[in-house]
């Protein structure tokens, strides 16, 4: 109680005298940057997730082979969650004498809950978005189906016992997916018309889906509730199994946003650490005095901690508010570019910002402040008495642990944080060593330069350890700024380039083996490049290491999804260029005749597979078995034909299969599709333009947003660096006063300070460039799976930015010190 009262007193006095300003400013900038970036990435992240959720046409989807009870809808309604129903099943649609196998989708009101349908007035014609659904007695058919039946808008078709009028061409459903699950062309009818068709009897192969949409919080809670309630037959579906491409892009966008959040945290840590150091140093004398006057250790500690906690609290509250305002301003500035449908921010970033600042403060400021407790009271008599030195492992250990904890909490990505931990540790070690060497070298140089530089550089060398700490801090700060300014650009450019303009937008599936030559000829005759054909065989997985698949996947929703689904098997001599072997090896000529399979990592994770496991498949009644020789990481977002399961040549020989290919067709070239479908009636044309543009949109939106987030982080970073420089000014007060007392003119003293900071800035800049290049290369390679070319500009900008930012800001900060009358500085004792 006494401590609290005293801490409050001390706080108000320290505040009034400006003692707290630097620490508070550093914390404030840190929290503002953290929450600002946090709020913004939160909104962008939500928007990207929402876009990705369109693949489900919902935020959450429940699927079952049996009718889904209405109690789920009641439960959802109670919690303000929207719902819609779909029932889909294969059936035959008749148009006069013609008929075709189709996937019928009976959709209820509200469908789709996320994304919009696109319709057209003629097959393969340009489409428009709509919020309507087919009315009673109406049906919408997709282009392939219309082409196959030879029907047109206005015709009537028969489905089961009912007759429907074709009123629109169905161009696009958000949930049409791209995993070639629905091979048959589809049509929409109203759910209310379904009973009259009399198609849904016992034994019909219908799939029931219930869609849910709500706020992320609602959905999270609801998902948990459903997870507990759902029966064995019911399954929750997620975005990634529906569309690995969208998932891959979303994940990468998320990593970019995480990167900026991490950088903000690092910058904040640098600022807070520097300010905390200064705060501690300035408090040494006061604490010794308090103890001399009879304050017990515990009391000193309590007062220190309470005062610090109060500062942190003020910084957290005020910083969150400023962060929110900054973010709001930012979204206004960005205008329509990204704000379209940008969801409102949640409160989480404010909490996160405050908690992060606190964790950093505790990590960096607490160990030195705890030392205050141990300041010998005799320091009042002998100034050189310092508290017993902290072991580095204790002080920096806590700081690094706090930092990594915060980073993990922020990004929940062990790999990213792991690389960062190693990166930070290595960078610090290198910076420390290099800083030491450079300071040493600078000391040697001093004979060769003018008086101002000699004084400045001599200062650097004399303050050896101190200078090294500053080089490390500024170097780290500049390094992340360089990462932001230069490396980020390169990464984003590479990301955009990963989806070049000639990315295929149509897949042709079910090309019979006997027709492949004709097909290639047909395509070539229309002036298109020769297509590459891939074999594809439909199969179901039956056993893993002779254990029935049902047994293996029981209780694992995602594994069940993979196991239930019909698989597309393929074989290849060479791996696709966008595949990376992550375990095992690809087969060689000497493996000919052996049954091997290479499995995508998605399968490996969900089914818990290991190299050497034996997978068996049922292909139209025949069983084939193969041993896993490798696992592959597939870049799904390149949109080249790719397969989860690729077999060694010869393994699938003799099995009834078809071929598939992909083509890039512009609007004009698409006209040949109708002819192609008539010429090769068994071939299914699969339009992935929609999913492609979905992915492009995710990339465009996210990269634009990332640009702005980075810009914001950059501004925050420079501010933080300035605050850090401010915190070093104390150390220069005495010197400046002393030199002026000895007769140095102000200009000379200032030039000396400028020389010192400029040299410091250039040293830091060079080290930062080295760090940024390494970090950029590592990030590109290991985290973003992108190619990265070293950018020479990093070096130029690093050196220049170091000299200008650190030199300029340092000189400005020191100007006040130099202008301070020397007598009053010396008198303050």
């Amino acid at each position: 109680m006494k401590a609290l009262r005293f801490a409050l007193l001390a706080l108000s006095r320290d505040w009034r005298s400006g003692e707290l300003a630097v620490l508070l400013a550093a914390l404030l900038v840190a929290v503002t940057a953290l929450t600002g970036v946090g709020f913004f990435t939160d909104r962008i992240g939500q928007a990207v997730d929402q876009r990705a959720a369109e693949v489900l046409a919902a935020d959450l989807r429940l699927r079952s082979a049996e009718p889904i009870p209405e109690s789920y809808e009641a439960l959802a309604a109670e919690q303000g969650i929207e719902t819609a129903r779909i029932i889909s099943f294969p059936s035959v649609v008749f148009f006069g004498a013609d008929s075709a196998l189709t996937a019928i989708r009976a959709v209820g009101p509200g469908y789709p809950l996320r994304g919009r349908l696109k319709i057209a007035d003629a097959p393969f014609a340009p489409a428009r978005e709509t919020d309507e659904l087919p009315g009673r007695g109406e049906t919408w058919l997709d282009s392939r189906l219309l082409a196959r039946l030879g029907a047109a808008i206005g015709d009537t078709v028969n489905i089961g016992a009912s007759t429907f009028t074709v009123t629109r061409v169905l161009d696009y459903r958000p949930d049409q997916g791209s995993a070639f699950v629905d091979l048959a062309p589809s049509l929409l009818i109203p759910l209310a018309d379904l009973p009259a068709t009399e198609l849904l009897g016992p034994g019909s192969r219908a799939s029931y889906r219930l869609l849910f949409a709500g706020t992320p919080g609602q959905i999270r809670d609801f998902r948990d509730e459903i997870d507990e309630r759902k029966s064995k037959a019911e399954r929750l579906e997620s975005v990634d199994e529906e569309s690995p491409q969208i998932q891959a892009s979303t994940r990468r966008a998320g990593r970019f946003l995480n990167l900026s959040a991490i950088i903000t945290v690092l910058l904040a840590a640098v600022a807070v650490a520097m300010a905390a150091r200064r705060y501690t140093r300035r408090h040494l004398d006061n604490v010794a005095l308090m103890k001399c006057m009879g304050a017990p250790q515990r009391f000193v500690l309590q007062v220190t901690v309470i005062e610090l906690a109060l500062v942190a609290l003020v910084a957290a509250l005020l910083g969150s508010l400023l962060g929110y305002l900054a973010q709001e301003l930012l979204t206004r500035l960005v205008g329509d570019l990204v704000t379209v449908g940008l969801p409102p921010p949640t409160l989480a970033p404010a909490l996160m910002g405050g908690a992060t600042a606190l964790a950093i403060l505790v990590g960096f400021a607490l160990p030195p402040l705890l030392q205050l407790k141990r300041v010998p009271p005799a320091r009042v008599l002998r100034r050189n008495l310092e508290p017993p030195p902290l072991r580095y492992s204790v002080s920096y250990g806590l700081a690094v642990a706090a930092l990594l904890g915060v980073l993990y909490w922020l990004v929940r990505d062990v790999r990213l944080v792991g690389y960062l931990a190693v990166g930070i540790a290595a960078t610090l070690a290198v910076l420390y060593g290099a800083g030491f060497l450079l300071v040493l070298l600078a000391g040697r140089l001093r004979g060769a330069v003018g008086v101002a530089w000699r004084y400045g550089v001599a200062n650097l060398a004399r303050r050896g350890r101190e200078s090294v700490v500053q080089v490390v801090a500024f170097g780290l700060g500049l390094m992340v700024l360089l990462l932001l300014a230069v490396v980020r650009n390169d990464l984003l450019k590479d990301w955009r380039a990963s989806l070049p303009a000639d990315t295929p937008n149509f897949f042709m599936i079910n090309i019979p083996a006997a027709e492949t030559a004709d097909f290639v000829q047909f395509v070539e005759a229309r002036g298109l490049p020769t297509p590459q054909l891939f074999p594809m065989i439909r199969a179901r997985m039956t056993t893993i290491n002779s254990r029935p698949i049902d047994e293996v996947v029981a209780g694992n929703d995602r594994a069940q999804g993979f196991a239930e689904r019909e698989q597309n098997l393929s074989w290849a001599e060479q791996p696709q260029i966008d595949n990376k072997i992550v375990a095992g090896r690809w087969w060689q000529a000497s493996d000919r005749g052996k049954a091997y399979v290479s499995v995508a990592t998605e399968y490996q994770e969900d089914l818990g597979l290991a190299l050497g496991d034996r997978l068996a498949f049922d292909v139209a009644g025949e069983t084939i078995e193969a041993e896993i020789l490798s696992f592959r990481e597939v870049e799904w977002d390149t949109f080249r034909p790719n397969f989860f399961l690729v077999f060694s040549p010869g393994t699938l020989d003799g099995l009834a299969g078809t071929w598939l290919t992909s083509l890039k067709l512009d609007l004009e070239q698409r006209k040949m599709l109708a002819e192609l479908v008539r010429r090769f009636p068994s071939v299914s044309v699969f339009d992935i333009d929609a999913i492609l543009s979905q992915v492009r949109e995710v990339i465009d939106r996210a990269s634009l947003a990332v640009q702005y987030v980075f810009l914001f982080t950059l501004a925050a970073g420079i501010t933080v660096l300035l605050a850090a420089i401010q915190s070093t000014r104390d150390e220069r007060r005495y010197e400046s006063a002393m030199l002026r007392t000895l007769g140095a003119r102000r200009r000379v003293v200032l030039a000396g300070v400028a020389a010192e900071f400029t040299a410091l800035g250039m040293l830091s800049g060079v080290l930062a460039a080295i760090g940024a290049t390494l970090a950029g290369w590592l990030l590109a390679r290991e985290v973003f799976d992108l190619e990265y070319a070293i950018d020479p500009w990093v070096w130029v900008i690093g050196l220049a930015a170091g000299a200008v930012i650190v030199g300029g800001a340092g000189t400005l900060a020191a100007r006040g010190v130099v202008n301070h009358p020397p007598i009053s500085t010396l008198r303050e004792g």
Binding site: D285, M293, G294, A295, V380, L381, R827
Partner: protein, 226 residues
């Protein structure tokens, strides 16, 4: 008149480790100071004056021997115990004033009272600052005060808790002769008015002769007393 002993040192020894090995900076120092006495400790630089002061005030621990303050053995207490003893009995005046730069003159004087949890800190501090002639400069920060004024604030701060022993470490060391003389005058006057025991470290013979007793030190030992 037989007066009570307030401060006693028996066979004090202080050793520190230095690059050249163990260094004895204080060796077999015994002394006894009675209530109200004024004692000057004199000697050349490095004679061990400040070390002795630190030990007598309980700011540091002896390597051997003991110090008794108001009958309590300081070396038997832990650091917090010694801090409590200082809070009750001891005041300090330093060569370099040691005012807290972020506090006004008034707040600097209030500080020891606040640390003791006294509610009347402000009123008490005003009175004592009036006594040292700074009643008109209560709201000034140390940097706005002259050296002599700063030391007067420090003296007010030392006397405000009515300590039984006042330790002064070269109180005029940073002041010019005229100002120093005034400060010493003030110090002795307040000391007499409060009946405080004064232990003064100085190398100024003129100041030392104003004390009841002079203890002379050389190379860590007491070499003479008067």
């Amino acid at each position: 008149m037989d007066r009570k002993t307030v401060l006693e040192a028996r066979s004090l020894r202080k050793e520190v480790t230095s690059p050249e090995g163990m260094l004895t900076i204080l060796d077999d120092v015994s002394l006894s100071i009675v209530a109200g006495e004024t004692v000057a400790i004199v000697g050349a630089s490095g004679a061990g004056k400040s070390t002795l002061l630190a030990l007598l005030a309980g700011l540091d621990e002896p390597s051997a021997g003991g110090v008794w303050l108001e009958g309590t053995e300081l070396s038997a207490l832990d650091e917090d115990g010694r801090a409590a003893a200082r809070a009750r009995h001891v005041g300090f005046v330093f060569q370099s004033f040691h005012l807290v730069p972020s506090l006004t003159a008034l707040e600097n004087v209030m500080l020891p009272l606040e640390l003791a949890g006294r509610r009347d800190a402000r009123a008490e501090a005003r009175v004592v600052l009036g006594q040292v002639g700074l009643g008109a400069r209560l709201g000034h920060y140390p940097r706005q005060l002259s050296g002599g004024e700063q030391q007067r604030v420090a003296i007010a701060r030392a006397f405000v808790t009515r300590p039984s022993v006042l330790f002064a470490d070269e109180p005029t060391g940073n002041l010019d002769t005229t100002t120093g003389a005034r400060i010493i005058e003030l110090l002795f006057n307040l000391n007499a008015a409060n009946g405080t025991t004064l232990v003064l470290v100085t190398h100024d013979r003129a100041i030392a002769t104003r004390c009841d007793r002079i203890i002379e030190m050389d190379a860590g030992r007491l070499v003479g007393a008067r």
